[in-house]
């Protein structure tokens, strides 16, 4: 934990600044509520179970969308990475679509699926699937030829070569795609929930706006940040680090 005290002091000063600014009366409370009010709202929200329900609904959508993205993205990345003609055709299309912010899929999704869970899942999947596909694709394409030669030399070919050499060799790159896919899924979900109000954290956030309740807006934003940090630090960063260590990338 480097800079532990430095960090603590920084965040305490930030809170203090916020506190002083909010109580200076310079801005009205509906624009800048004091921190204690925000934490109070947060506490009340958590106690009433409303926040937990929203978190549960959002995470469920996220997980479901992410799993669908994995199930589509990894195989798609593998086949486009393996077959040149697929890469030139389907791969180029996917690369082009990746430039489209996933929320741009919402109108299409609403027309296809109506105001339903499927519509929001579709947006989440479109957010995550492309980066997972592209990372898997480049990982498969960039496997060191030496590994493939060594594997073939020992008698590996076809599916065995692919599953036992190409896939594990591509894993560091795939993990980066998984991490990026997760964060894109998370962003897409929040954007979708804001625009398409149906429970979830985005809905709580929008409710705060409707009720002119800035404390709730900030409290929900805080929850969103905490959840993002939680998954990134506890899951994906650890996974990435473990893979990098095992593959020997972090050793000179």
């Amino acid at each position: 934990m480097r800079f532990f005290w430095g960090k603590t002091v920084f965040y305490l000063l930030l809170l203090l600044g916020w506190f002083l600014l909010a109580h200076s009366g310079f801005w009205p409370e509906y624009m800048l509520p004091p921190p204690e009010k925000v934490f109070q709202t947060l506490g009340a929200g958590v106690r009433s179970g409303r926040y937990l329900l929203a978190v549960f609904i959002s995470i469920r959508r996220l997980l479901l969308g992410y799993l669908i993205s994995l199930a589509i993205g990894i195989p798609l990345g593998m086949v486009t990475g393996k077959y040149r003609w697929l890469d030139e055709t389907v791969g180029s299309l996917l690369l082009g679509l990746q430039t489209l912010p996933s929320i741009c899929w919402l109108p299409l999704s609403l027309l296809w699926f109506g105001l339903s869970e499927q519509a929001i899942l579709f947006v989440v999947v479109m957010g995550a699937v492309l980066s997972i596909t592209v990372a898997t694709n480049s990982g498969v394409k960039n496997v060191a030829p030496l590994y493939i030669r060594a594997g073939k030399n020992m008698g590996a070919k076809g599916a065995v070569l692919f599953l036992r050499i190409i896939l594990p060799a591509a894993l560091p790159s795939i993990v980066i795609g998984l991490k990026q896919g997760w964060s894109f899924a998370w962003r897409s979900l929040m954007a979708g929930e804001l625009l398409f109000i149906n429970l979830g954290l985005g809905y709580l956030l929008m409710m705060g706006r409707e009720l002119n309740n800035m404390a709730q807006v900030i409290a929900v934003m805080f929850v969103v940040v905490m959840l993002g940090l939680f998954f990134d630090r506890l899951l994906f960063s650890r996974l990435e680090k473990a893979v990098r260590r095992r593959w020997g990338f972090d050793h000179p």
Binding site: L146, Y147, R149, A150, G151, K152, N153, M154, G155, A156, K157, V160, R164, I165, P168, A169, L171, R246, W247, G248, H251
Partner: protein
Amino acid sequence: MNEARALPCLETLSDHDREEEPTGAPFFLPGEPSRLYNRPKPRLKLEIRNVAKTFASAKGLIRALNNINLAVQEGEFACILGPSGCGKSTLLHLIAGLELPDHGEIRLYSSQAKKDSNAERLIIFQEAALFPWLTVLENVLFGLRLQKLGAKESKERAMRFLALVKLENFANCFIHELSGGMKQRVALARALVLDPELLLMDEPFAALDFQTREKLQRELEEIWRRTKKTIIFVTHNVEEAITLGDRVILFSGQPGTVKQEYALPPSRPRQKESPFFTELAAEIKRDFQVQDPGRELVEQVTG
């Protein structure tokens, strides 16, 4: 040139000979313990006839190998010596079956009746080509798992070959935890465990420091003596070729051709300080200079 003399490793050993083997325990290849002692008279292992290979490059076609003819006897340690880019690695890839020749043929005479694997011509690369996502033991097990062999039997076998390269205590290490020399030893175990007909070594010690290289040369010589494998060893280092080879095959490049062969006496280990060694090194160096003055090989010898 080399047909006339009997290679030491190819002599038929009787049980009586085994008693007098000076170097300790005989090395049994699992499953076929009789192979070691009922060896027939010297016989052909590999035959390369009129092989040519051309590559397409940005500058047009490059003839990497031109009309190569070579025969390797069973159990022989053949060193192919030549400068970088002379096509010797290409030849090794052709022998390994990783690439196909444009012309000519390569024949391998298998000593085993049944061979259900493709792993009969195994190559050891300059960089060990070990899989970093597997442990040392799992790397050695890799080829065995592709064959139909019981898990327990495979593991025992892998451990035995790790012991052969003195790495049995590192079985559960990851590859990045090993030194360069240890990696090459794992690569050697990973190849030997599959009991290949031919062991092809592509400058395996070139990236190692001087002391490690000498140590590994001695170990390889010992392993070769115990396993009686046929080895084709590619190097650009004259001393390495003379230290290890029963025969040194000098290549010259662009296009790669066999320039000269040198048969070496069976006595081992070879002493670098002996007159024989220094004279032969000088001779090879001279032969090379005559053909290709100022090439990299010469620098390697003098430097």
